[in-house]
Symmetry: C2
Amino acid sequence: MNDLDFASWMSQIQRRTEVALEQHLPRTDVLPEQLHEAMRYATLGGGKRVRALLAHAAGEITEAAPERVDIVASSIELIHAYSLVHDDMPCMDNDVLRRGKPTVHVRFDEATALLAGDALQTLAFQLLAENRVTESVGDQLAMIALLASASGSRGMAGGQAIDLGSVGRQIELETLELMHIHKTGALIRASIVLGARCGPRIEPGTLSRLDHFGKVVGLLFQVVDDILDLQSDTATLGKTAGKDAESEKPTYVSLLGLHGARQLADDLLEQARSTLTPFGLQARRLDELASFIVARKY
Amino acid sequence: MNDLDFASWMSQIQRRTEVALEQHLPRTDVLPEQLHEAMRYATLGGGKRVRALLAHAAGEITEAAPERVDIVASSIELIHAYSLVHDDMPCMDNDVLRRGKPTVHVRFDEATALLAGDALQTLAFQLLAENRVTESVGDQLAMIALLASASGSRGMAGGQAIDLGSVGRQIELETLELMHIHKTGALIRASIVLGARCGPRIEPGTLSRLDHFGKVVGLLFQVVDDILDLQSDTATLGKTAGKDAESEKPTYVSLLGLHGARQLADDLLEQARSTLTPFGLQARRLDELASFIVARKY
């Protein structure tokens, strides 16, 4: 797929991710219909699919079969979708808009949102247990364990908890970074490593190098998110803009100022790209994705 | 362990389950501390551990190493604990008491309860991916898939959704059964099958026979639960008694009357026990457990 320009490659991956998710989500004519409807509503028809893109881009480095990466990418997107459903609920961020549509608890109800999030998480692990994504079954168990540790109390869910504890409080840059490394960083790192682990050609050092790239890109993603939250409007963003400042959430912009946050984003992009140098042309998509993450408008 | 009387065997399994859970839950001095505290609070120090008991009892039939069954039992108890935390939340059953203690969202707050439930589910899958529970790695993947399908939208979470849809409505016995087969039945069945799958001596037909036993025992458990909810008081039950009638939830008692529900429980017990006949003495604990489930007071 190296002959495609970046935009075409990206929309191709987004499309195939949508198809894979569509296939693996339970149908709405199967009981309990409303729960399945909510699960599909929460997952399909939107999202940049950054995590799926990263998984596929990393898979190119190890020559992974795209069909295998589809499974990993779907699992990760299901975890991401579950976290958004729960984060948007009234007891958390209490947000009414996501990807330009009413959030799940608004469109359905809170109980359905709670259960849909729960069942999306379960489905993520089910997918990764039921479909072969790598040659060695032992490796596959390790991949399930990695997805779990990236999502759990010392990964994504833990980051959410740190975030909740920080609202309205003065925090240091270090704590903000720690929060983001967990909240968004862990799953982004896992996307990259899991995508790469689908492939047969894993050279020594590849996974740890990619893991480092993922760590930097995860932070980069969050810094840009904070800038966008301040600069963009709700229509472009597809979610409520200006939410951070309003809820007194500490952000990179509130701690570093807009100029400082932009400078940090530039530095992180530089760092991320230099990590990829040893991979040469095989890292093309990862390199393009890092730049895209900085340049995106939503 | 066949020389122990049932009560001693039961408390021995309950103790070792507590120890295993204690070891596998994240420590409270690890960040984020409050989330870890809530996860431990939700899981430790209470509960009959019916699912762990069933897993160990089934493991005796296939001569499973108890250390392996501990992992499976812990995973299942973590799933069960997560479901209780979420079920008790205001948008679901809105219950304030569980196992004689304030529920997680009362003791902490709703956001913490939501995240603790999420992270407990993740930990269940992490445990089962990180620790070897059976000789064949391929079998272990199948066991993870089974735990997921028993917990997800077509298992436990699906049963919750059907339950929510039935509150205040006239439903048929058939729908009630369908709800319970999902809501409590699926995880009970999985406990038995997963416990058995830890062992090396799985004869042809063993798993499907145990699965059938699990299906019957799952219903039995729920019928008795409905009777207890009506008859017991809050102190004995450790959770709010009379909740079903108050919230207009359909139950076996409301549909069949107290006498009819008791008759059904007797019939199901008879059915369950006869399923075990071919296993002879090795099914002793499963047989005792089925009787215990009927005779219990809480």
